[in-house]
Assembly symmetry: none
Homo-oligomer: 217 residues x 4
């Protein structure tokens, strides 16, 4: 409340500054997403954030620090979520997988969230540290959880005897493609309705396969 510019002139700058870092990161996210890290000028970010270039440097010591801060901010909540909610789920493996997919779908529909992995992908070559950090904090938290779910399903006789490690690609791959087509090529339907349709079909194919008739094992 006190942070919002009530009129449109008297406040200008000098906002409480508690919210500044977040605002700057939001602006950076938007710019990095549109233009990539290298092609984004700090001035662009400042303009989007409604502050001066120098003010950006008041909160972040370098352009790279903005990228790092962005990944940091996105990664924090994931780390907590992953293991707890998925591994501790007590229902069937199918239900666990459904839940994961639904959660990820929800996240994907928020462009600010789905943007992060794309940015990491784009800049991984130039900033291996960031790629490694993202891998450690996100990928290597989620994949093992999924693998464990599949392994549990196999052990309990609920799932077929597949290679759990290799099968996670079957679980999340379609989602990744869906997101990439939408984000990179502006193709596909990211609306809740579109995602729901996609998800239903994906789960159907994932669980029961493309081929008619009973599987061999």
């Amino acid at each position: 409340m006190t942070d919002e510019p009530e009129s449109s002139e008297s406040v200008r700058f000098r906002r409480r500054a508690g919210a500044r870092p977040t605002e700057v990161l939001d602006a950076a996210l938007q710019c990095f997403m549109r233009d990539g890290f290298e092609a984004t000028r700090v001035e662009d970010i400042a303009k989007v954030a409604g502050i001066s270039k120098a003010t950006v440097y008041l909160y972040f010591p370098s352009k790279l620090a903005l990228l790092e801060g962005l990944i940091h901010r996105a990664v924090s909540p994931v780390a907590k979520m992953a293991k707890t909610s998925i591994l501790q789920f007590e229902g069937s493996a199918q239900d666990a997988i459904k839940i994961v997919l639904r959660i990820v779908c929800t996240k994907i529909s928020d462009p600010d969230v789905s943007a992060i992995p794309l940015i990491v992908m784009r800049e991984a070559g130039r900033f291996p540290d960031i790629a490694q950090y993202y891998y450690d904090e996100v990928i290597s938290q989620i994949l093992p959880a999924l693998i464990a779910v599949v392994d549990r399903g196999i052990a309990s006789g609920e799932l077929r005897d597949v290679d759990a490690n290799l099968s996670v690609g079957n679980i999340i791959g379609p989602l990744v493609v869906y997101m990439l087509l939408a984000t990179v090529f502006k193709t596909g339907d990211l609306s809740p309705k579109g995602l729901d349709a996609f998800l239903s079909n994906h789960i159907d194919v994932l669980f029961h396969g493309l081929v008619k008739g009973s599987p061999k094992s």
Copy 2:
């Protein structure tokens, strides 16, 4: 066109002028892959190609032209391949899908080929024309072909009655994830052996599903 040997007589082992553009593109590919388009300096490319910076401009009018040339070169063969080889295949849908996956897997194992889609993905935001071009020439050639295969399989009673449009994600998604993990995070096994194991499992899960027991339909 301009790259091809103009006469057909001096073809023996010529390597100079004729091969130069190709060498420059190879160098550009390597640099763009490592550092991204913006962060790559023309001088880097020249150094990798073993020529001087100014010589690069002898063959390509600008840095952007290098990127375009790269995409062009990669796209050409795909366009021809796609429709002919897949659509004209006369066997079962399962075999058609297997063939496609095997072809893609072969391509993926060559880093120079798999690099192109990654580069397109990275630079799509900044160069929508390039993204569009790649989409038109590659994506929109392959996806409809796959969809047609699935639709044919459904019509013939070989495949279950899924949504063909949405199911292509199930076919290529796992491959995409496999490639991304390998390229972005240096994780995963891109050797023929590793790819084979992955492919077998993928096809098994894709065709027969994760869940034990016969599917409802």
Copy 3:
């Protein structure tokens, strides 16, 4: 004037407002000495003074004013001292010179004092006004006094018939070199003991020369 305690009653141990400008100047001296005027940031000075950057501007209107204030403060006492104490000395020229050298030596051993001429030297090119001011207030007070002493000594038959104007370099030059070696190259002994040894030798050579045997005149 503005620096002095306005009333004469609250004088006890006051340290706040009254001492601030002095503290800031001390901090500036330290920083200018270490890094030079241009390379010193106002924030550095503030940090050394234990106050905020903006507070510096409460006492000095600009960074240049700090430099000026510094020179002012150092120059004031010298101006008074010079003429009175040296010219009014009634003993022999040799004793007068000895006294001057001893005084200068004492000053030199206090780094805060010897720092000022060094700073003036460093910044003279960029701030001719300051150089001129220092020259007027210090150099042109001391040199004529010394010259007068030598001239008096010559007139009284105590000293040889040298060129007094040119000979002041022989009097203070060795001291200057001694100080420069110590300050610039961290070489030499600025302890009282070291200075004493140096001074004894200097006076000996200055008065009686390097060469054995009686001088011709």
Copy 4:
């Protein structure tokens, strides 16, 4: 010959580039001397050298490299000169000292040469490496040579039994002061005539002292 711009328009840039580094250093010397290292902008140097800012960076990787190059260039010839010419001198100590002083005086009259020690003095605080380098290559070459000359003179009975280490200040100190007054405060006569007068008086005082009558020892 081929390097000189024959007309005044057709050549503009594109000089043979062999002379460029020297030209840039000359320009840097001039600017550093006038404004100091920090206050000099690379663009100033470029303008003085008649080239563009970027061209400066073609020959020197950073502004600091210009300073280093400058010191380097000035130091090289000194190192060779010092020990050989002074120590190998076979005449009397007095003649040796006279020769040294005359050489130094000649150097001092060239502003480009006398500028270097002044620059080193000014920037020593901020760039201790440069100060150390200059000390090692120049100061610690010349001082020991002078000390040795004095010691030889004492041993041969030509000079009085003074402390040679401390007496070098008496030899070069007056010169230093003369140069500082001229360079820093634009006072004093750097013409050959002025220097000659100064040198005669200095040598007279240095050798025979200020005081009339024979010295005690």
